[in-house]
């Protein structure tokens, strides 16, 4: 009887076993049935990740695979965010090239002259520069590129629409720009004027576009193609998936660096588990900067992986509405500034970051004499007592918005709330989607008392942030929730930006910063560190090397990923490493 029961259980179980094998064994069956794909399998499944010996034996392709956010706009007149800036500086050339100290060096322009009134810039171009399709780059292309970015007005276009009056080609290799008014940082801004091949773009325009004879100005075609002369060119681009760039062997500036990557793949994902998996399989050389510190810490524990952290001029602000009670009072604002535990936020929420004022230390023109606010509840109380709202704080709650798409901001909001409560200030923390934040900041009456927002410099100079953050012109945009509207500050910023002499200009920047610091319209929480993990066993990441040696990194967004300077030694790669085939 007992024997029969066991026999039945065994017999019945076979059915279930077969079905489960089929379901759960599907991955195994498919993986064992024969490797048809040329890549994507670990080099040696039996090797442990900590295997000390380099395994790649055959000639490996030099590649950098890097994750980043999507969409990636590779049209120079459209893209302006982080991933776009990386792609643009690799696909295109500009007249000048940014240096780590914030100055520029000759690039497509081998020399230039500036008129005494600071209104006319004349550039002499390099001769023999080839676009990726073999056409020669001339002054006509420079004029076309400028006119195009100004006409389209997207991306970095605003840098030129407000400053340039006209551009003309004096001859094949000479181009002249005339400005509306003197603009001191103009040379620095020119790193964002990427030169396109006019002939190639015009051959690919759609005629029924909004730009008259230029149709769509090639916008449709340039979504997935390039028309540049940069060190890399588009090999393949799959929207929402990746941008694959290939080294341009005929690059005019040459390839002294023989170990530069042959291919660069910008993979469009920032999903934590995906990035971690890719890194652990050796299918990724550098992660994106959008990973949480917990995930980055976990990734950095993988074999042969290191963390790299540098600054590119991004400040985390609590913008305070100076036109609304109780934050219209300077003492109330200063009390708040003194009751934020900056160090705690840096240690716990944004490791690697540092204290900041209106202009972060990585941006040329920042005032080193200003000491950032720090936690001091005694000073906070002293300031609060001088406020007209003292004694009736319960009637004036401080409404603090944080952006729902950036969960770390909630931690900051709660820390502020806890410390402010010690002073009797009631902080109402509100989670708001980004689209609503933008809408709210359009008018002073809908702008909350405080809103937590990251803002970066548009070009590598203090004038960029001063103008975008504190000039009256930026009121109503998400870059200024302060509604400062101070005519004196406006004219100081305009005067500084119009100063052509660098030293004088920087002195003027210092004065503006001091003035703004005194008004305390913002709680400058920190300067954000750009952090990413990378493979240290076979990748030489110039920004990481510079940080190790205490040298400055490039302050212009994207240029720390100028892949022509990278070195890749796949033959030194230890496990795990997955070969790349384009």
């Amino acid at each position: 009887m007992k024997h029969n029961r066991i026999k039945n259980i065994f017999k019945n179980g076979i059915y279930l076993f077969l079905v489960l094998c089929l379901l759960l064994g599907l991955p195994l069956i498919s993986s064992c049935a024969g490797p048809s794909q040329p890549t994507q399998t670990p080099t040696s499944p039996s090797a442990t990740p900590s295997s000390p010996s380099p395994t790649p034996t055959k000639e490996e392709v030099k590649v950098i695979r890097h994750t980043d956010s999507w969409p990636c706009y590779i049209d120079p007149a459209v893209g302006s965010d982080y991933v776009a800036s990386i792609s643009l500086c690799n696909l295109y050339d500009s007249l000048v090239f940014p240096n780590p100290d914030g100055s520029v060096k000759p690039w497509l322009a081998k020399s230039w002259t500036v008129s005494d009134d600071g209104l006319t810039y004349t550039f002499n171009l390099q001769q023999g520069v080839k676009f990726h399709n073999g056409d020669e780059l001339t002054a006509e292309d420079v004029v076309f590129s400028l006119q195009r970015i100004m006409a389209i007005g997207e991306g970095y276009g605003y840098l030129f629409t407000t400053s340039v009056k006209e551009a003309k080609a004096l001859d094949k290799y000479t181009v002249q720009f005339t400005l509306e008014k003197p603009f001191g940082p103009f040379l620095g801004v020119l790193v964002r004027l990427y030169i396109l091949n006019k002939k190639q773009v015009m051959a690919n325009i759609q005629k029924d576009g909004p730009y008259g004879e230029f149709g769509d100005y090639g916008k449709g075609w340039l979504v997935t193609h390039d028309a540049g002369s940069g060190p890399y060119m588009i090999k393949d681009m799959k929207t929402e998936e990746y941008v694959l760039m290939e080294r341009f062997d005929d690059y005019w500036a040459g390839w002294e660096n023989k170990d530069a990557p042959k291919y660069v793949k910008e993979i469009g994902t920032t999903e934590a588990i995906t990035v971690r998996t890719l890194m652990s399989r050796g299918e990724l050389e550098i992660t994106d900067q959008w990973q949480t510190s917990e995930n980055l810490d976990a990734i950095s524990k993988l074999p042969n992986t290191d963390l790299c952290s540098f600054f590119e001029g991004s400040v985390l602000n609590i913008m305070i509405n100076t036109k609304k009670a109780p934050t219209d009072d300077i003492h109330f604002r200063k009390a708040l500034a003194y009751c934020v535990d900056y160090q705690q936020i840096i240690d716990k929420v944004f490791p690697g970051s540092r204290a900041s004022t209106a202009i972060p230390a990585s941006v040329p023109g920042y005032n080193p004499n200003l000491k950032p606010y720090s936690l001091d509840l005694t000073k906070a109380e002293e300031e609060l007592k001088q406020s007209p709202y003292y004694g009736k704080l319960d009637q004036y709650p401080f409404e603090l918005h944080w952006v729902s798409e950036v969960p770390d901001e909630e931690k900051i909001a709660l820390m502020v709330q806890a410390n402010a409560a010690k002073l009797g200030i009631k902080v109402n923390v509100v989670k708001v989607p980004w689209a609503s934040v933008v809408d709210n900041l359009a008018k002073p009456e809908t702008t909350p008392n405080g809103v937590i927002i990251f803002v970066s410099a548009h070009y590598a100079e203090a004038g960029s942030l001063l103008e975008s953050r504190y000039h009256s012109r930026s009121c109503g945009t998400w870059e200024q929730g302060e509604w400062l509207q101070d005519p004196e500050i406006d004219s100081m910023i305009e005067d500084a930006i119009a100063t052509v002499n660098l030293k004088e200009r920087f002195q003027k920047y210092y004065a503006v910063q001091e003035k703004i610091f005194d008004l305390c319209p913002t709680i400058w929480v920190l300067e954000q560190a750009v952090r990413q993990a990378y493979r240290k066993d076979y990748v030489v990441f110039p920004a990481a090397e510079a940080m190790k040696q205490g040298m400055p990194v490039n302050p212009v967004m994207g240029y720390n990923f100028y892949y022509r300077d990278f070195k890749v030694f796949p033959e030194k790669a230890q496990q795990p490493y997955t070969s790349f085939q384009p």
């Binding site: 279930l16 890549t39 994507q40 994902t269 588990i273 995906t274 399989r281």
Partner: protein, 342 residues
């Protein structure tokens, strides 16, 4: 009523449903906060550029006029331009919809096969340890969301036991087949390119299994319950009396009528896969329409939002009609009643 008339009536009703859906979603997309033109162009874009985009998208016109232009465009196959991808929405849909359809079809096939197998097993061995085990598995399968399964798969098959590709639809170095349907496995099979088929198939496995598990176990339970309910019906006693083998009774006479509720739920589950796939698509970097739709919503990409939801609505409608046909095939009462016109 004949089956043809029945289907025609359903189709006509469906047109009204989709038309209503188009109005609702068009209005909702436009009344939520945020200026789409400003969001698309950034804070520093000159006002005239923002205004030009508003005019291009007719955002400066009243809502009914905007709707008129939009629906006019839709009828001529033009869903407008996406603010995120900067290209016609139709092009995006042509690229992303087949990717998600391929995922959903594969997940649907898995659901159908394993739900019926597990449900039949559980019913056949009801109240035994097999039934108990499948019940426990079902509880887990239904309770755990697809994205958690996706993360677990990513950890297991991507990290600890890397036997399957973890990202995208095709390995680097593989040439995609010429587009016929846009579904890589189908296209490569049609063109006899088995290496590409196998590669695309392997990329499908993890996301499709992750996506299918919830529906699969739910339908297994429904199949089991339905079969157990039908087991004591008179027609089965008669068949046993005729000496028909138990295996034949199970699969030929019991399973078919028991599949009616399963088919109905499976249809809805299949259509839901399209919308529910976005987290799975994000985790596996699968360039599908579901992820595209979520991205459109986050960026207030009006044309893309409207187009994606209309397409999801249309898929729901089509799948429901197919389910009705399947149910009519499975249930003679429905088939006969439509044929008699009752």
């Amino acid at each position: 009523m004949k089956l043809g008339s029945f289907l025609l009536r359903r189709l006509l009703l469906s047109i009204f449903v989709i038309f209503g859906l188009s109005i609702v979603i068009f209005v909702i997309a436009r009344v939520v906060p945020g200026d789409p033109a400003r969001l698309a162009l950034g804070p520093r874009a000159p006002a005239e550029v923002v205004e030009r985009l508003r005019q291009e998208m007719y955002l400066d016109k009243p809502l009914p006029v905007q709707y008129y232009y939009w629906i006019k465009g839709v009828f001529s196959g033009d869903f407008g331009r996406s603010l995120v991808t900067k290209r016609p929405v139709l092009e995006d849909i042509k690229e992303y919809l087949p990717a998600t359809m391929e995922l959903a079809i594969f997940a649907g096939i898995l659901m159908a096969i394993f739900a019926i197998l597990l449900g039949t097993l559980a019913a056949r061995f009801r109240d035994t340890w097999i039934d108990g085990l499948i019940r426990i598995m079902s509880y887990f399968g239904v309770a755990i969301p697809a994205f958690v399964v996706a993360v677990i798969f990513m950890m297991v098959f991507g990290y600890f036991w890397p036997v399957l590709p973890a990202l995208g639809r095709l390995s680097p170095g593989m040439t995609p087949p010429a587009t016929i349907t846009g579904m890589l496995t189908f296209d490569s099979l049609i063109q006899g390119n088995f290496a590409t088929f196998w590669d695309a198939f392997k990329h499908l496995i993890l996301p499709a299994v992750a996506l299918s598990l919830g529906g699969l176990f739910q339908e297994a339970r429904i199949t089991r319950s339905s079969m157990v309910d039908n087991m004591h019906k008179d027609f089965l006693a008669a068949e046993r009396g005729y000496g028909i083998p138990e295996r034949v009774i199970m699969f030929k006479y019991l399973l078919k009528p028991s599949l009616i509720p399963t088919a109905s739920v499976m249809g809805l589950d299949f259509a839901s896969l399209l919308g529910n796939a976005f987290l799975v698509e994000m985790i596996f970097n699968w360039p599908g329409i579901s992820r595209y739709g979520i991205s459109a919503m986050l960026h207030k990409d009006l044309n893309a939002i409207s187009a994606v939801i209309i397409i999801f609505g249309a898929v729901f409608v089509v799948v429901n009609i197919i389910v009705d046909i399947i149910v009519a095939f499975l249930d003679p009462r429905i088939r006969l009643s439509t044929a008699k016109g009752t």
